[in-house]
């Protein structure tokens, strides 16, 4: 990086590419050339910075000035001001969601300030397509040490001692898994990486593979040496073409450099690595199903034992680890177990990457020490819930995807660790956090996840295949006003039947979203059943919309937005909804800035003002 005056880092993760960052990069190169600065300012493409919603993201080093939402049209002005005149441009910098405070430096922005980057230490700093960049940052030192100086026993001891637990969902101690595979005697073993990332609403693994592919590969080499594998596969989902592309470039470069492949660094140790693209089935993230899929078969889970570490891919001992788990390994080898344990809690050591999405101001990817509370994540890092002025409030966070559960406001001070999250009924999962505010319907949420699981069930076990469908039908009944007394109990009982009778984690955890929403939001289920009232106005058949004539300013915004032309009224006079025309779409509620839309139960004929007193 030496001979340039400054480095201009253009984010080229999937998010920013979608918001046209590659065009922005071209524009920068053209503009710099035009001004004869091409030898002074180096333009670098990086992986995801984790702040995709603000993309395209540009950072300028060494000053670490952070620019967001840069468009092609902005480029000439930015180059002129920043690089010619030396005046960083305030209007492109990050602004606080609340105040109008502008924050120029990346490290001062709350979203970044509270993070501790270990797994993501290279994000936004290196060009993931250049192996030299990775090596400059101590890349492949750990694998070199493992391959040339350490015995498998020593590697396993360090990993075990670090306390690292799998980041793919179950939280199984990685060192223990490696040890049990290392113990097996076999002519062939496999080291595999799970990049299937099926949790819909999470993109940690995608970002790691895109931003730092070599870290994943290095972790796999170390694992391979520890268990004695000579062949490995990285299983990546079909929806991640950029991750596949970067991993392939990385594998080729590492092989070329003698860091991967035959006789690594003349040590006599061989490890070949291949990418395997998934074909779109959530259940293939499950370890036995994933291995069947690599074998070219239908990805249906099988009964365990035997565990994969004894009999996995093609019947040989196999270790499967998640992307993030593997990317953390090189640092553990280099810095030692104590360094890793210095963050986190006793049973959940180190840091964890989370993706924050849904009703939160700063959506994106963050890495924090284990044990931080949900409150800190929402408010210190996530910037709170959008629309606070319109009365939007944090209601719940869904963790663990379709296998997880909803954690309510009352448990907001729960520390995020494997054991504490499990106590709430949710699971840590892979780190997806989807935030919900007081306009989200929890029955609707439960329905959403069950739709997912009924769709994705591989169909092998009847309790999972049919049971989830019965539950889904029941939830549809509730949402459409056919709910009956006793339905909640039926849902609970069915849940336990499904948990008991299913073979793999998908079925065993499918009822979790329903069970946790019943546990924490039972009143919401009851109002759907007894009062035929979806109080947040999501379930269309259980709502009637009214305008509060005392509050309405007659601004007309709702009238213009209503797709059904159901709202009438004169300017500056209270408006009114014609019930016969209203299709209960809730657009007016979302549009009104004065909180004057009232949501009542189905076919409510009484005085809308009476609803407010409740």
């Amino acid at each position: 990086m030496g001979r340039f005056r400054a480095n201009l880092m253009v984010c080229a993760g999937s998010g920013c590419v979608a918001t046209k960052s590659l065009k922005v990069k071209e524009a920068f190169e053209k503009e710099l050339k035009k001004r004869g600065l091409e030898n002074e300012i180096d333009v670098v493409l990086t992986g995801c910075n984790g702040f995709c919603a603000q993309g395209p993201i540009i950072t300028v080093h060494p000053d670490e000035i952070f620019y967001e939402k840069i468009q092609v049209e902005d480029v000439p002005y930015l180059v002129e001001e920043h690089f010619v005149k030396g005046r960083p441009v305030e209007k492109f910098m990050y602004k606080e969601p609340t105040g109008k405070l502008t924050i120029p430096s990346m490290h001062e922005i709350p979203f970044f300030k509270h993070q501790v980057l270990r797994v993501l230490r290279n994000k936004g700093i290196i060009d993931p397509e250049k192996i030299e960049d990775y090596i400059t940052r101590d890349g492949y030192l750990a694998s070199a040490k493992a391959v040339t100086e350490m015995t498998p026993r020593e590697i396993i001891e360090v990993v075990k001692d670090s306390g690292i637990r799998g980041r793919g969902g179950a939280g199984f101690p990685t060192g223990v898994k490696w040890e049990s595979c290392a113990r097996m005697v076999s002519d062939r073993k496999y080291m595999c990486c799970n990049g299937d990332e099926g949790d819909p609403g999470a993109f940690m693994d995608r970002s790691i593979m895109e931003a730092d592919p070599h870290a994943v590969i290095e972790g796999m080499i170390i694992g391979a040496k520890a268990i004695g594998a000579s062949k490995g596969y990285i299983y990546v989902r079909a929806e991640y073409p950029l991750a596949v592309h970067r991993l392939q470039l990385a594998i080729d470069a590492a092989t070329e450099a003698g860091l991967l492949g035959k006789n690594i660094l003349d040590s006599g140790f061989d490890f070949d690595l291949e990418i395997y693209q998934g074909a779109g089935a959530f259940v293939c993230g499950e370890s036995t199903a994933l291995m069947f899929s690599i074998e070219g078969r239908r990805g249906m889970p099988r009964l365990t034992p035997p565990r994969s570490t004894e009999s996995g891919l093609w019947g040989k001992p196999t270790v499967l680890n998640n992307v993030e788990t593997l990317a953390a390994i090189p640092q553990i080898i280099l810095n030692g177990a104590d360094w890793f344990k210095s963050l986190g809690t006793e049973k959940s050591t180190g840091t964890k990457v989370f993706s924050l999405t849904g009703a939160i101001n700063n959506t994106g990817l963050v890495e924090v020490p284990m044990g931080m509370t949900i409150r800190q994540i929402i408010y210190d890092i996530g910037g709170g819930v959008p629309g606070a002025r319109r009365g939007r409030k944090f209601k719940a966070v869904q963790m663990g995807g379709p296998s997880g559960g909803c954690i309510p406001e009352s448990l907001i001070d729960t520390p995020v660790t494997f054991e504490d999250i499990q106590k709430t009924g949710a699971i840590m999962g892979s780190g997806g956090m989807v935030f919900m505010d007081n306009t989200n319907c929890m029955v609707g949420m439960a329905k959403f996840f069950l739709e997912f699981t009924t769709d994705e069930s591989c169909g092998k076990c009847p309790p999972c295949r049919v049971g989830t469908k019965i539950m889904l039908d029941k939830l549809n009944d509730l949402a459409e006003g056919r709910g009956k007394e006793g339905d909640i109990e039926i849902l609970e009982e069915l849940s336990y039947d499904i948990i008991e009778g299913s073979l793999c984690g998908l079925g065993q955890s499918a009822p979790n979203p329903v069970l946790t929403t019943i546990q924490y939001f039972r009143d919401e289920y009851e109002s759907h059943i007894k009062d035929k009232w979806c109080k947040v106005g999501v379930c269309r058949k259980l709502t009637t919309f009214f305008i509060n004539e005392k509050v309405c300013t007659g601004c007309g915004a709702c009238m213009r937005a209503c797709p059904s032309k159901a709202i009438i009224g004169e300017k500056k006079k209270p408006h009114r909804i014609i019930q016969e025309v209203c299709i209960q779409c809730r657009t007016c509620y979302d549009t009104c800035r004065f909180k004057s839309i009232i949501i009542g139960p189905a076919d409510y004929k009484g005085d809308p003002m009476a609803l407010l007193e409740e």
Binding site: S14, G15, V17, A18, F51, C52, G55, E197, G198, D199, G201, A202, F203, R206, A238, E239, Y240, Y276, Q277, A279, G280, A281, F282, I294, E295, G296, R297, R298, G299, M300, S355, T357, G358, A359, T363, G364, L365, Q398, G401, G432, V434, F435, M436, N440, F449, C458, P462, P463, V466, G467, K469, I470, K474, I490, E493, L494, D497, G501, P563, C585
Partner: protein, 296 residues
């Protein structure tokens, strides 16, 4: 096809048998009725049935006993149950016995037809793809490339899925004739090829439109209102998910998370990701592709 399928409906209420008969015979299935478990067993001893649709609560020999008998003596017969959420115990028992599906009571004709059609599909998943669709003509150059690709994978273990992925890239979809070529080329039974194709949602046996619209139905996109966007597309293009417009311009597909959740709600057309899509904007975005030719 449908007239080969024999179904036995078991219920102690004649009106249920009658209505099933009316609905399913109109679809071309062969329907017999039995008024109880004992009658059903007698009927099944006379001739084989593909499916039995049975009530659970019946006097004398009840549904569970009947299902147990079927599982032991006629395991090739698929079982569907009709239930109005009776006691949980019975549903639990039925699930453990391995029923294919259930019909909620009371049911509409559409629901019954749908459940039966899906049960047939489910049962056929494991048998060879007999689909004798008319063999479409493909350009010889395309077939030559297909064969070349297949032979390059011949001796690699576990190559079926990568080959199917490449084949779908070359041909656009995986009709029976393409599956057959792959089965021959890799020396894998046709039934297994078909089983894999039907298992993974990435593979399609239907031709696709010039432009492929993929709507993300992941959690982040759901929370940000993607379902309204999807409704808008369905309404305007007059197609459902997995279908293709009449003019073959667009096909509509649903995916679970594109890993761009920060930009939710997300839609991908061909290779372009569109972020923060709203019901208002969506048709305008789609219309821009109307005038553009097929993707490269």
């Amino acid at each position: 096809m449908a007239d080969d399928i024999k179904i036995l409906v078991v219920d102690d209420e004649p009106v249920v048998i009658k209505s099933c008969k009316r609905i399913l015979e109109a679809e071309g299935y062969n329907i017999d009725g039995a008024s109880g478990g004992r009658e059903a067993i007698i009927a099944m001893e006379q001739k084989p049935y593909d499916f039995v649709i049975t009530d659970l609560k019946m006097p004398e020999v009840d549904g569970i006993t009947l299902i147990k008998w079927i599982k032991k003596s006629r395991p090739e017969t698929g079982v569907l149950i009709i239930t109005g959420y009776p006691s949980q115990e019975t549903i639990k028992d039925a699930l453990e016995l391995g029923i294919i599906d259930y019909v909620p009571k009371p049911f509409t004709p559409v629901v019954l037809m749908d459940v039966v059609a899906r049960a047939i599909e489910w049962k056929q998943k494991s048998v060879p793809a007999e689909a004798k669709k008319k063999e479409e003509e493909f350009p010889p150059s395309m077939m030559a490339e297909l064969d070349r690709m297949i032979s390059s994978y011949r001796d690699k273990p576990g190559s079926l899925i990568p080959v199917l992925q490449r084949a779908q890239e070359i041909v656009g979809y995986l009709p029976p004739i393409v599956q057959k070529r792959i089965s021959k080329g890799l020396n894998i039974p046709a039934a297994e090829v078909h089983g894999v194709v039907s298992f993974y949602s990435f593979f399609t046996m239907q031709p696709r439109g010039d432009h492929i619209i993929k709507v993300c139905l992941g959690t982040a996109c759901y929370v940000k209102g993607i379902d309204e966007v999807l409704d808008k597309i369905k309404e305007n293009l007059h197609i459902g998910v997995g279908e293709i417009t009449e003019d073959r311009k667009f096909s509509l597909e649903a995916v679970r998370c594109l890993g761009a959740c920060g930009l939710a709600p997300v839609m991908v057309i061909d290779h372009d990701t569109h972020s923060a899509v709203t019901p208002k904007k969506v048709m305008q975005i789609i219309d821009e592709y109307r005038t553009v030719g097929a993707k490269a």
